[in-house]
Symmetry: C2
Subunit: 342 residues, 2 copies
DNA sequence: TTGTAAGCGTTATCAT
DNA sequence: ATGATAACGCTTACAA
């Protein structure tokens, strides 16, 4: 029996014919079962089953003027930090019948224009931002009305978006404080770019922890890097070249911490014996490197999930949950930190 | 001037009114400019510009019975190996006006059912498989007619799909041969699951390289793991427990190689002095670990791009390019391999 | 060359 | 409780 009766997907008309009712009734029976009689309901349900009917989204979406698709803007899809957030986002979206498009900002090819077009052409109902900037020119949002948006992981006060985030300041504070408890006095910081709000908070945490410990903050002990391995290495070099190099370093990301670790080793330093290093994010790399990295773990899956829930709330017109969600994070102590022996 | 004239996106009707023509003419002027007079064309173009018109995909798609959206099935979105493939896929798709949905198979939540539903409900026009299996029960594809598909990275001969891949056998052969050239005679293999065609080829490459070198293949030197760090470690343990443990190991993936590396270190072995290790994939981790891993590099971005091009060809009804595409890969020699000193 | 009208698959309004 | 009908935005015969 090779021939297929039904080459194309079943439509509502098919169900209607099979059940001897109108398409309107089919729609009601399936959407608002309480609005049809018991008998027709089961008649329709049976017919739908028989022909293998599933509502075709394009017709429905056109009528409802929605796409049931969301866009998540990712600064760099190849950065492992974002993978698990994305998974949280997608699973949660799927649970609520939404599809998710990934907007990768790292490459030029995904032009800014593309994203705004997705909005104008009604291909997305909402956006989830994992970076701190809108993925198109400022000012555009004044001309166009933007769809519901939520920000996760980063901050952009001027956008006034619901946000899912950790307490970066406290996390950094605790990390640096841990180094101080280990007896370190000269503690450096390898920070991310100034323009990232994230980094501002983490730097403040660093500063406050030092102050709290009665240590004077020396700007020379603060090096900047752009979240790459190489930047971490050269920032570390910069710190080690100081007359009194730090005995411990707090980094704004694991990748930079790994770069710092690598350079320290190249210079013949033993980690953690001569130098303690703390990273941030707890990407899987940190378990496997040598020594394994002490770092701050963020609940990445939960960040994705909560952000999506916030977005779904907006789409459903519910009062925006609570504005924002603060999630817990945790200092994971591994082998890259030790008591100060200098 | 805060009030917005146009709260909703401009439709073709708006353009038609502005240009004093019918919507049909607008459609023609924009789609088939040669079918309208010079004057009306510019009139329409101007009007479209004025109202900021972009075709709304839902209307168009409904009419054309397509979604301009593709689905890429990823075995595990958190496996860094796939990230860059996905980037190649997305950029190429965007260049051709297609959107890409990511189907992550790793978690249960993304039920198999979901994927087949995307097909039935016409939400996707085609699929790109990064694993060797269809993401739903066998047999289903006999009842439903599946959309155009392309496979990348893996193999499934029975599906008879156009495929983008490297020559796994030769790559493995060269890697193992390199170990032999370094003087190693007892060469182990940490292989992936038997049911992955990929692993069959890599194992064959291992076997053929040994034979070619006149080395008898000892099945005890072949350990299996499921592509996780832990599996790599326990496979390594198994090999080291042999009466005559190998002096070099070829691994089917970097992650397993890192597991092996970690265990070897825990047992007090020096890599590469006492043991050489080769991985597969060249994920970014391999540059940063200690020692950096010798591995086989795959052109991941190109794999994604070529696969997408193949899929687009099918969608355009062009004769499927060439059936399949074979891409080059390369042995990257780093610090985890050295001359046999035993 | 251009306009009219039908249709894609749904849902919503209005009768019945 | 149900059915006819119009509508969402776009494309395309067919007519003019």
């Amino acid at each position: 029996m090779k021939c297929k009766k039904q080459v194309v997907a079943a439509t509502m008309k098919d169900v209607a014919q099979k059940a001897n009712v109108s398409t309107a009734t089919v729609s009601r029976a399936l959407m608002n079962p309480e609005k049809v009689s018991q008998s027709t309901r089961s008649k329709v349900e049976q017919a739908a089953l028989d022909v293998g009917y599933l509502p075709q989204s394009m017709g429905r979406n056109l009528k409802r003027n929605e796409s049931r698709t969301l866009l998540v803007i990712v600064p760099d899809i190849c950065d492992p930090f974002f993978s698990e957030i994305i998974r949280g986002v997608e699973i949660t979206a799927a649970e609520h019948g939404y599809l998710v498009l990934i907007g990768d900002c790292a490459h030029q090819n995904q032009q800014e224009k593309t994203f705004i077009d997705l909005i104008i052409t009604k291909q997305i109902d909402g956006m989830l931002l994992l970076g701190s900037r809108l993925p198109f020119d400022d000012g555009v949002e004044e001309q166009r009305n933007l769809p519901p948006m939520v920000m996760a992981n980063e901050f952009a006060p001027e956008l006034e978006l619901p946000t899912v985030h950790i307490d970066n300041l406290t996390a950094a504070f605790n990390a640096v404080n841990y180094l101080h408890e280990l007896g370190h006095q000269r503690i450096g910081c390898i920070a991310g770019p100034e323009e990232m709000p994230l980094c501002y908070y983490r730097l403040q945490g660093y500063v406050q922890a030092l102050r709290r410990s009665g240590i004077t903050v020396d700007p020379h002990y603060i090096a900047r890097g752009n979240f790459t391995f190489e930047a971490g290495a050269s920032a570390m070099a910069q710190l080690l070249d100081l007359p009194q190099p730090p005995t411990a370093v707090f980094c704004h990301s694991d990748i930079m911490a790994l770069g710092a670790l690598s350079l320290a080793k190249r210079r013949g330093l033993k980690v953690p014996d001569n130098l303690s290093i703390i990273g941030f994010d707890n990407i899987s790399l940190t378990e496997f490197c040598d020594p394994p990295l002490t770092t701050v773990s963020q609940p990445r899956f939960a960040i994705g999930r909560e952000a999506m829930l916030l977005l779904l709330d907006q789409l459903n017109g519910q009062s925006v949950r609570s504005g924002s969600r603060l999630l817990d994070c945790e200092l994971i102590v591994r082998g890259s930190t030790a008591k100060n022996k200098s």
